[in-house]
């Protein structure tokens, strides 16, 4: 799907955009991240470190969406039952719908080993939980809440949540779930919208869970290919993502709930919501670009207009984030960095040991590698959109190339903001 690029500079004049160098790289089939072995090692290592906790995230998100559902006191929602650890990923293992990763379909062995002992020692699950010596689901929940909060980012999934059809399905599930519980049913009678909104949130649990079910095996496979020497450049890594995006673009996004052994289809598969348009693109928009002002990184004064009036102008995502305050209490990315820290491949640990403060600031170093890797994922999404909506990179018609140029320039305009890290990641010294 991604064609062998030619140098478009021969057909259209060079871009005068601030990020002309990056645009030319994109036009040549590259990524926003410069193609260096060091960058490749960082992004692939991070995909691996991200994929292991992600293997827990998607399982637990589906568990919460499908089983915990509206439990008013969900104390044990992060205690994943064996059933969900053994749940087969649809894109790994022998019985996969489409086998992206050549590994097993059940929970990753490194994840299981970590769940057993954590970074401390073997002790009851509750103590691991309270000590935060576990996979931190709080991060994952924060992201889906960002998706829910930034509603109306395109696609059909989000508008569907406001339809009578959706509400009727949710109503049926709510009444079934609280059957024999007059208190909760009474509350539902009094505040129906509150319950429906909770179900909407749970639908996003399912949405993100299904999105990550795909991404985890993609990242595992990329890591394995890198280890085997089959991915050797950043564009190759990006193209693997682009091809993966198209391969599973049609994967259905749905929300099923299991109550007393019976399945309730809150969003049935038959609605035909597609992975690319209803999960991947809203995810990138909400999480990579927008999110919300992270608690703790900086005090934002909304009255002084430090926070934009319009949600579409929010730019607090990982592509813009200041990673240096990682470690401060209350910032969701700290939890993600902590999760990834446990699963870094040895080559990346050695690499971090050689830079900055070595082991002491590994959380930040890996955070910046994560930022680099997410710029590659975003590049893949931009290239995929260009493939879907515009013209091939080697198109012979200059007008088409100009249209591609305009598309890339419009995308790069979003990184003109001073807090965007696109400038930083062009240098290897940003670590």
């Amino acid at each position: 799907m991604v064609q062998a690029p030619i140098n478009p500079a021969t057909k259209i004049p060079p871009s005068r955009h601030e990020f002309a160098e990056v645009i030319h790289r994109l036009e040549a089939g590259g990524a926003m991240l410069p193609d260096t072995p060091e960058n490749l090692m960082q992004i692939i290592g991070l995909y691996k470190a991200y994929a292991v906790p992600m293997d827990f995230y998607w399982r637990d998100l589906l568990y919460i969406a499908e089983r915990v559902f509206l439990n008013p006191l969900p104390f044990f929602k992060y205690f994943l039952p064996k059933e969900y650890l053994d749940l087969h990923n649809h894109y790994a293992g022998d019985d996969a719908d489409l086998r992206i990763w050549r590994g097993e379909a059940t929970a990753h062995p490194e994840l299981l080993a970590f769940m057993e002992k954590g970074e401390t020692f073997k002790m009851p699950k509750l103590l691991h939980h309270l000590w935060h010596d576990r996979i931190n689901m709080e991060f994952a929940e924060d992201l889906l809440r960002a998706m829910l909060w930034h509603r109306g980012m395109g696609g059909n999934f989000d508008p569907y949540l406001d339809t009578p059809e959706y509400k009727a399905a949710a109503d049926k599930a709510i009444k079934a779930y609280f059957q024999g519980n007059p208190v909760m049913l009474g509350l539902y009678k009094l505040f129906p919208e509150m319950f429906i909104e909770q179900v909407r949130q749970l639908s996003y649990y399912s949405n993100l869970g299904l999105f990550w079910e795909v991404m985890a095996p993609v990242f595992f496979e990329m890591s394995d290919l890198y280890d085997e020497g089959k991915i050797t450049t950043v564009p190759e890594a990006m193209n693997f993502l682009v091809n993966g995006i198209f391969a599973i673009a049609g994967r259905p996004i749905y929300h099923h709930v299991y109550i007393r052994g019976e399945m309730y289809e809150i969003i049935p598969k038959s609605k035909g919501f597609m992975w690319l348009y209803e999960a991947a693109l809203p995810y990138v928009e909400a999480v990579f670009y927008r999110t919300s002002p992270f608690r703790g990184t900086k005090s934002y004064n909304a009255q002084a207009k430090q926070v934009p009036d319009d949600q579409k102008d929010f730019h607090y995502g990982i592509l813009y984030a200041d990673v240096f305050p990682v470690g401060t209490a209350g910032i969701p990315p700290t939890l993600l960095m902590q999760d990834m820290l446990h699963f870094l491949p040895p080559y990346l640990v050695d690499y971090y040991h050689k830079h900055c403060r070595g082991e002491d600031d590994m959380l930040i170093q890996l955070g910046i590698s994560f930022q680099r890797s997410m710029y590659v994922v975003t590049s893949a999404v931009i290239q995929a959109l260009r493939t879907a909506l515009l013209y091939p990179l080697d198109d012979s018609n200059p007008k088409h190339l100009q249209a591609n140029r305009a598309f890339f320039e419009a995308q790069m305009d979003r990184f003109k903001r001073p807090e965007a890290r696109l400038r930083n990641i062009q240098s290897q010294n940003y670590r």
Binding site: F324, P325, C356, R357, D360, D361, I364, R421, Y430
Partner: protein
Amino acid sequence: MLSALIWLPVLGAALVGFWPGLSASRARFLALAVASSLLVWTVVLFSQFDISNPAIQFSELFPWIETLGLNYHLGVDGLSLPLLALAGILTWIAIYSSNESVERPRLYYALILSVNAGIVGGFLAQNLLLFILFYELELIPFYLLIAIWGGTPQRGYAAMKFLIYTAVSGILILAAFLGLAWLSGSSTFDYKAIITAGLPLTTQLILLTMLLVGFGIKIPLVPLHTWLPDAYVEASPPVAILLGGILAKLGTYGLVRFGLGLFPETWALVAPGLAIIGAISAVYGALTAIAQKDIKRMVAYSSIGHMGYVLLGAAAATEISLIGAVAQMVAHGLILAILFHLVGVIETKVGTRELDVLNGLMSPVRGLPLTSALLVLGGMASAGIPGMAGFVAEILVLQGSYSVFPLPTLVCVVCTGLTAVYFVILLNRTCFGKLDNNTAYYPKVKLPEEIPALVLAVVIFFLGLQPTWLVRWSESTVAAMVATVQIDNEQQVAAVEAPAIER
């Protein structure tokens, strides 16, 4: 017993300086060993000290040049004992916190030990000429310490300014001492033998003024302070600790010991003026500190402000205010030392002291979190937050002085608030905010580099929570000193009232 405190560092300095083939690390080790021995010896001295006895203790008297009235007469009382401890701790801290790869290490450590010997000698001397000898002895080492190991090319200028100012201070004090002995007809310069009671009031006033100006330069008081910002800022942090922490105390100690101690009659006349100068110093120090952009200069100016409290307490000369003044000398020494040390750590790691550049050092992973936390603590201690030594000292000074000089005291109360203002500015800009992604790749602060600040923090907290350990040593000495002032005051009042009765 007391001679050891002087001669041990002298011997140490000689060994460090002249032992053939001594390596840099061994020179440092030897200097630290000497400083540690001095600390231990000071602790022994404390254990033997009789706190109920207001007089000079552990007296040592050897005739030296009797024709000049110069005797080797040492002794310690409640006024000098806490300062000995301060000198011991800060010398150890200064040596420990010195850069291990300091240039010309043997000369450096020898000079620091010489400085210690000179200052401790000053605190112990019970003969005025002997005091002057020690007082002058530390000038040259300090000059060299600033001029050779100072920060910028301005260090030569700063060192020379320091030398000229403090040399003038020494000359004034020497002149005052000579006048004192000769005019009072004393055959010796021994402290106890000097009695000013017989001198005319004008003579006393002139002599006291000379002393006040002399010691005022050393403290320093506004407007005699202009050498301080340059010297403190240009000196390396360990030298700044010695300068601000203990050398300045030689000035305040001299003021109380020789100003108040030798001129109890005249003190009441100059006291209102001194209280006003104290208040002005406090205001000037605080306001100037607020205006600074360099954190080291900010701390240097804060020192001027805090010395103002000592002057106020000494001027009021009540029992509580004097105890407070002594406590403030110790507390200020400790707090200034922790601040200078931390500023030094920040400068070493971040490479700047500019308030406009520093930011976000509290960042837990990439910043200097422990250093920042200790800086916050130092700032709080300096601002007189309860629970720390600075509070104890300031509350005693203010409480003791209010009854005598209410207005200057109230001004000083306001200044404690202003102290909080500039420390909030310093801490807010330095510790909080965000790290610059382009520049914030600072090396980690290793634990040994934090140890001086941690030790000082423990002492500051301990003395804040157990203030009796700060004030008990000087209570009886101060009580005796205040009694002489009060008696003299009463006599003066009687003398003024007597003619009225006759009329």
